[in-house]
Symmetry: D2
Subunit: 330 residues, 4 copies
């Protein structure tokens, strides 16, 4: 995904990213039309919120389940984001989740109960499917990308056998993203042997309607279905090494414990890491502050300037204060 | 509902209450068996919590929707009360909501989507149905009781044409109960011309799952479906006068505004009343403190000692501090 | 406060605003230096947050109580805003609250325990003091401004007898601002006879540390010191008419009831108005939507495009969803 | 602390507990008079709440700081407990924190800023001081008791050199109590090598006023002063072994991480333990369920029937549901 002013790609840049025809259109002045699957759900809404003002993409199609079809998006959705629904988006018709339109790039906010088959159908129809659902994450030929951590995994898509450039890309569970970002520089520099993580998950992570308020007001729920398992399996793949068309899991012992806490947005994770080589606190902070993966050289429009923020203040970070840091991307 | 030691009923005590055969069994030493409809829902759970240790009643049958039938109650329910589910209750089988059992007294926590027909079916089968649902509240021959306010309305049941002593009794919406209690002594003493009420409804009022946590954490929702209408229609009936087998609505102008607030339990109401005759603050407080309706003379097991608590402290009442006052019955 | 491109002031524009020398500097390309009193408190922090990126003003002096003096602002403050403390502001020294500097414009976030005398001292030293404190609000020669509502009150300052252009301007209590904005067009069009308002005040309104979390989590507090009195007295002045160098209170009967609710930011008010002349719902909405006071023609940098937002959706507005509407200025 | 019907003390029962004269009075029919230090603070209020209806103790003296003296307790206190202040307690005068009264047993809810010296003064005056403050916890001759875990430590008091039977007893930090109870049976059965604990502390733990609501609503604070250090030092002492008049710390590696969460009451701890000898899940559950320390044989009035509750349900325990289990003592 190169911009006109970005010059040559950095060395060792994944081939598939450079050659992909659908991505080259990004050089053009015109915005690239994109569709959103599962548009009325909370993940779909968040995708709309993030993409509505994106300099490269133009949302042109919104797909959702049968009960929303035939309505305008505004009629169909219970909008729960903190910024208003853009008026133009609200007027779009809600379409069915079938690949009967000409757009190549499709973001999926589908729930896991249907995402597996629907996403495959779109890939078979030649679409580039960027999925937030868990269904295809652990498929051996599907990359689970955190661009700052493992952009080279994208070449896995060459093993996918969809026609017309169709492909499926995934991202890991949201708690894994932050964790992978924090651990990647440590893995490179010191090696990681074992990991103990306690996540404190906000209400937003459960989607909508998600957790009833009667269960969460003035309460903690020390169990989130599948969440501990996801962290344990996904993290190893995200941190894994890519070679010869496969991703080899990063070998580390992970123990995870997840608790739902009564806050709106912003997950917090408390992590203990056993490194292979001893590090001082100063080394750790320096390595985090200097962390600058190749993807940042591209200066993508949504990239944060600094990916990892280390706070000297002993009572930071706090969800309320750092929630909007770098527009929520740090 | 007389106890052995209660002596003669107070003067003007409703006839039907005294003569009703099903109620006379209460004099017996043995507990009266009761059934609960809609037992797995949040209202049903609350009924179980209140009746589980009641000196007169013994819960013997729990009825719920098809998907719970054939399970034990413990398997079928997502128990969300703050006191543990009594073990013996948990072992009861969940039955269908059909009147094919020998018990005469039935408490209904059914949702309004089904309560209308099911409750009628039980009354036709000769049961005394005590309902928390809204469906029959405004029926002209169904009393909507707040025992401390309008116990004489109970004679309305004589107009009901169900066989074998079958009858339907209802209670008003929860915000109306508190309001009616506070207003009754004022209506008697001064007359009420108009009323403006703002209710701040806790999450519990919406049932379970009710309001999503993502909607209510750190938020207010200034609209509750039907709630304002319910207050406006139900309050007039509850405060109404009974004579010649009909309840005449109390003539007052009501404006209500309802807001859902992020607290677990305990509704707060802010009320402005226009009285027909001017009253001093001292008169008001005295009248509230002295309010002692006939039903209290019966010393029923769940009756609070004082129904209305007036707080001199200007920052009281607060839901957190007064929630459990007189076991939640004041 | 005219911008270069704003052309002539609108007709009937207050004289003092046009002639005031200190304000004319705003036409200059250079930013106007300003000082902030009470800079470490929650109101002071909010002033810094709002002014830090203002196109006309440059914060150059931060004044606070003795215990902060001699420190940098970053050392002295417990920053509780949701956007980070601007780095350059953090490095400023904390000064004493004495008028021994050359800046003419002073924003005061002082607490009411000291604001009265300190603000007077600055005005006597020739400063234009724009105060958020309550101390001088009801002084007969001090305007209490909501620019969209009563900008003409600003001429009151001509009655103040401070030397060298010194003057004190105030704004009303935060709940009064929203109320005055909503009521002004109704007062103009229909006349207002009486008003009943219930405010649901967020935690932020109590300053910092303000209300203990133990008091407010899962709770409501139906009393806020002085708040009801402030609404009742301040609203009449804000809506009052200016002529012959005095502001005549708007004659209306106000009853206010204030409750602290467990949300972070965003006050909600539930208002019943008795108009002098009957209005239909459609008239009300049209009048709100068309409300465009003279100040808006100036297109001031912080002015919202629309001051009043009317929502057709019956469950709006909600603090969480509309908190950031028009950058918090609507 | 033996009751008449308790028969002989269990074998190995601490000598000092049996011989202590002040405790023998408990055999009498009359209640033992006790005083409370720091009575107006949140710990003091909690002590009053717990002792007000205690079958053995009678609260007769309430001591607090100078600004409360000369008032009745009701006038002096901002009562923040969820049960009402007992009327008789409210009428007691507030006394100074000086040992000029005849009562032998003194419960201290003093804040750590003054507890050290004041408690010593009372012990010197011959009082048995039972302290909730941290000041004397780590003194080598002061026992830090969790009666179900280390009742034998009580013999440490024989090393204290106060006259007339004066002595100081302490309890550990609240998060350490739950932790010690859960770990004690594991330490006995398997040995503990290392421990990783994440605590999620409720607002109540910070006392009153404690954490501002603006800091905690919709937020987490990943730092609590001293809390991690307290867990690390106190736990080793509580689990330590007593012999020859000293307590030897239990040798284990502890890492603790503490976060304040926005709930009213009920701390949650997420613990990983490395045992010296491998245990199966079934062994662990059995050992917890069978845990029955000698102190339980005494059937003390406030003792829970079961100290440790193991929940099969994977989403339990939750602060809201289990908060009141065994009256808060489990």
């Amino acid at each position: 995904m190169l911009r006109d002013d970005a010059g040559s790609p950095p060395e060792n840049y994944p081939e598939s990213l450079i050659r992909d025809r659908s991505v080259e259109t990004l050089h053009l002045r015109k915005k690239v039309p994109v569709a959103i699957l599962g548009a009325t759900g909370s993940v779909g809404q968040r995708l709309i919120q993030l993409l509505a003002h994106h300099p490269w993409f133009q949302i042109v199609a919104l797909c959702a389940s049968e009960k929303s079809q035939g309505k305008t998006y505004k009629e169909a959705v219970t909008w729960i984001q903190t910024t208003p629904l853009p008026e133009a988006i609200g007027l779009l018709p809600v379409l069915s989740c079938e690949p009967n339109f000409p757009y190549k790039i499709v973001f999926s906010g589908l729930s896991s109960s249907v995402a597996g088959d629907v996403e495959t159908a779109f890939a078979k129809a030649g679409c580039v499917v960027i999925s937030c659902a868990k269904n295809h994450r652990m498929d051996p030929d599907v990359p689970m990308l955190v661009p700052e951590v493992n952009i080279e995994h994208i070449d896995l898509v060459k093993e996918q056998k969809f026609p017309d450039g169709g492909m499926i890309l995934t991202k890991p569970n949201c708690t894994v993203i932050g964790l992978a970002l924090a651990l990647k520089p440590l893995a490179v520099e010191f090696g990681i042997e074992a990991l103990h993580v306690t996540t404190l998950n906000a209400s937003s992570g459960a989607g909508f309607p998600g957790v009833p308020s009667l269960s969460l007001l003035d309460n903690l729920i020390p169990y989130i279905e599948d969440e501990e398992e996801k962290i344990e399996t996904e993290l190893s793949k995200v941190l894994g090494s890519y070679s010869h068309a496969i991703v080899q899991d990063y070998p580390l012992k992970i123990s995870a414990s997840c608790t739902r806490v009564p806050i709106t947005e912003g997950h917090t994770e408390i992590v203990s890491v056993k490194l292979k080589r001893q590090a001082t606190k100063e080394e750790l902070i320096r390595i985090w502050r200097e962390f600058s993966p190749p993807i940042q050289d591209l200066k993508l429009p949504m990239s944060p300037t600094h990916i990892i923020h280390y706070f000297d203040e002993k009572d930071l970070p706090q969800p309320k204060l750092q929630r909007d840091l770098e527009r929520g991307m740090a």
